[in-house]
């Protein structure tokens, strides 16, 4: 059996069409997009065409779109860049409890090293935030609220419009980390009326190392890097032209496939959840049934440690995750599930299955056929599972 990849929220293979689109910009059109000569012009034109294409995907002006190295960098520029700009007037930052570490850690840094006040916005049992909750936390010192569009662990799609309205009513900027939403659901910065939005290519069959930050016209922030006028001085550094071309192509393909993918993956994920819950007792879905990117299915297997289940499935040739990917490879209890108020024992047994365009019913059937064996063995050995 070929290994089965169900960790698309960690990263995805690059679509061959994307590779083909990028290749000329690694070899033939290798120029530095900032050079004045012919070689530079070719690269610059490709870069600006890519910018226009990505901008149209999220419905913004090309001048509002800044290429970065990916989600983490975009998030850091959004948080640290606005903090630096507003520090003399406002010192309060609000972030969602279930944000990615790329949001939580810069916020923690601002709190620990620069005396910013950071508020954590609580979520309900499915990961949703209500406008009332946010309203209670906003102050006239709040310069930025950051809440992600789709959650990386549970797939919860946040209803951002009322939250953005609430932040704007208190004169606070609003940033959203759309890394897990982009290319999977429609993202329209005008309809949202959001001020800052982070996206990346590698979660949706694009290359690693390229992403973008949307900065609404008029929003001011300080750069993190200095050393050139690239990206209008907001992100200096020789432009990753091939990456930008790859991102544009990635989104173009995603746009065309979006509705079909969503429908197919909703059917597959519903089928998978139903089958697993029918075969095994004490299995719970973490996150909402609907208003979820269907790629993500987060299930808790009571009485089992997520880490052990992950390893057991890996030995059966199925790649899954028990939280966000981590350098050391060791798993920590998920802050996302804890914030959702999920019982500690249950959240320990959580596994994230993240499906993709190549996921088939046959692959899921294989997984469904090996899951009971692995889960039952772990439950047999478990000191906490009530057999």
């Amino acid at each position: 059996m070929k290994p089965i990849y169900l960790d698309h929220n960690a990263t995805t293979p690059v679509d061959s069409e994307v590779v083909d689109a990028m290749l000329p910009y690694l070899t033939q059109y290798f120029g530095n997009a900032s050079s004045a000569h012919n070689f530079g012009r070719d690269a610059k034109v490709a870069l600006e065409n890519a910018r226009e294409s990505v901008a149209s995907h999220i419905n913004c002006q090309p001048s509002e779109l800044y290429f970065t190295s990916g989600g983490t960098e975009s998030d850091n520029i959004a948080i640290l860049g606005t903090a630096q700009k507003y520090k003399n007037k406002k010192n309060h930052l609000l972030v969602g409890a279930t944000e990615h570490p790329a949001i939580l850690e810069p916020a923690e840094y601002l709190h620990n090293k620069h005396d910013f006040k950071v508020g954590i916005i609580p979520v309900d049992k499915d990961g949703f935030i209500s406008a009332d909750t946010l309203n209670e936390l906003l102050t006239d010192k709040t310069f930025l609220t950051s809440i992600m569009l789709a959650n990386n662990e549970t797939g919860t799609i946040q209803n951002l419009v009322p939250l953005i309205k609430a932040a704007h009513a208190k004169d606070a900027l609003f940033h959203t980390d759309a890394v897990q939403a982009i290319g999977k659901i429609k993202v329209d910065v005008k309809a949202l009326d959001v001020d800052l939005l982070s996206l990346t290519a590698h979660k949706i069959y694009g290359p690693k190392g390229i992403g973008a930050l949307f900065i609404k016209e008029g929003v001011r922030l300080e750069p993190l890097f200095y050393g050139g006028s690239h990206e209008k001085k907001r992100r200096p550094g020789t432009e990753n032209v091939a990456g930008a071309v790859g991102l544009a192509k990635t989104l173009e393909i995603a746009q065309a496939a979006m509705d079909d993918d969503f429908k197919k993956l909703t059917e597959l994920s519903d089928y998978f959840i139903l089958k697993v819950q029918a075969l095994l007792p004490d299995v719970y879905l973490n996150g909402p049934k609907r208003n979820r990117v269907p790629q993500t299915v987060n299930l808790s297997f009571q009485g089992v440690e997520g880490e052990s289940l992950l390893l057991g499935l890996d030995l059966k040739g199925v790649a899954v995750s028990s939280g966000s990917a981590c350098t050391s490879g060791a798993t920590e209890p998920s802050h996302v599930l804890q914030a959702m108020g999920i019982d500690k024992v249950i959240s320990q047994g959580a596994i994230r299955f993240s499906m993709g365009r190549s996921t088939t019913k046959e692959q899921l059937d294989y997984l469904i056929s090996v899951l009971p064996e692995v889960v039952n063995r772990l439950r047999e050995l478990s000191p906490i599972y009530n057999k």
Binding site: E307, D314, L315, S328, E332
Partner: protein, 362 residues
């Protein structure tokens, strides 16, 4: 059917070669690194390299496992390690004893929690890079015999392993010299071949256990009480910074000028005193030990002669082990021994076979 083994990999050359040899012997090998602690928790110099549980060590394990075509995982056991090993380390010092955390780790983490993980993964055995043999003897018990390379003998820290755990343990390096292990690593291009070994306490990164105890105490809102340093003749000679910072036989760091060298004799936590005196009075011919575990023999009721080791770097000495009715043992040495230290382990051997061991009470 192929037997499956989970190899405990630190990122050093020994466990790398152990994994390689088992693969050669036809086992289905799975490598695993136990993540036992985090810098945030234990403090110290985070840039000091060559220890286990660092990202670099984990990378080394990964590359070695990839080279021998074995899956590799990091197992997070930090909570378990903190609750057993680190807590014990701190509380033993509080009791005026000198702990050996490696023994706690072997008994309460490696041969319990790691073994449980192995079973969860469907493994038949666990394996380590210790230079010892694990064998079954005629009476059906699993025993540990010192390896060929006596300079690398670590049997002293293995006395707490249960029989059940030993029956599921492989130690493929027993028959090799360290030099040969490095040669094998070189021959097969394992990237840990020339890695230096670490011998100090793994979670005290700067080897400064005073710093570690103070930081951990601060985190828990505690502090160490200064008290008197008293000579065995009753005279108060100075002040100590807390009894935890002294160990039996210690000479340096007393901060007292005295015509003859002074050595710590007794740590009296009741009076919060450190008792010092001459080297001569450090020699004792008897000790009492409890928390016994028996390896090669059934729990003993009658006195027997053995070679007895009272610390990691101690030449085993002839003694009689006398079991007591309460389950402890009294040990009477042929020649008196220097600095018998409560909290350290005492281990009994018959030649090169580990009979059992316990913790020194007094």
């Amino acid at each position: 059917m192929t037997k499956k083994v989970l190899v405990a990999m630190s990122g050093g050359v020994d466990s790398s070669v152990a994994a390689y040899l088992l693969k050669e012997q036809g086992y289905e090998v799975v490598g695993a690194h136990m993540k036992l602690w985090d810098y945030v928790e234990v403090g110290g110099d985070i840039y000091k390299d060559g220890r286990c549980c660092t990202i670099d060590s984990i990378t080394d394990c990964r590359v070695v496992c990839d080279a021998i075509d074995a899956p590799f995982y990091v197992l997070n056991m930090s909570r378990h390690f903190r609750d057993t090993v680190i807590e014990d380390f701190i509380s033993e010092y509080d009791k005026g004893r000198t702990p050996n955390p490696c023994i706690q780790c072997n008994s309460n983490v490696k041969w319990t929690e790691f073994l449980r993980k192995a079973e969860e993964l469907g493994c038949d055995y666990i394996a380590t890079g210790h230079y010892s043999f694990v064998e079954k003897n005629e009476n059906g018990r699993c025993c540990i015999r010192k390896g060929v390379d006596v300079t690398r003998d670590q049997s002293y820290v293995l006395w707490g392993v249960s029989q059940d755990a030993l029956s599921k343990t492989l130690m493929p390096l027993g028959g090799l010299l360290k030099k040969e292990v490095r040669e094998i690593a070189h021959k097969y291009n394992l990237r840990t071949a020339d890695k230096a070994e670490s011998r100090e306490i793994c979670f005290v990164l700067d080897d400064d256990y005073h710093r570690f105890l103070i930081e951990m105490a601060e985190k828990n809102g505690k502090s160490y009480e200064p008290g008197e340093i008293v000579h065995t003749d009753g005279r108060v000679l100075g002040q100590h910074k807390g009894t935890a910072f002294y160990t039996i036989g210690q000479r340096k760091g007393m901060g007292i000028s005295y015509p003859t060298p002074l050595y710590v004799q007794v740590i009296d936590i009741e009076k919060n005193q450190v008792i010092v005196g001459d080297n001569d009075t450090l020699f004792k011919s008897e000790l009492i030990a409890d928390s016994l575990n028996w390896i090669a023999v059934e729990p003993q009721a009658r006195p027997f002669g053995a070679l007895v080791k009272i610390r990691y770097l101690h030449e085993p000495s002839e003694a009689t082990v006398i079991p007591q009715v309460d389950g402890s043992v009294r040990i009477v040495f042929k020649d008196s021994q220097r600095a018998i230290t409560p909290g350290q382990s005492v281990v009994f051997y018959d030649g090169d076979i580990l009979l059992g061991g316990g913790l020194i009470v007094r």
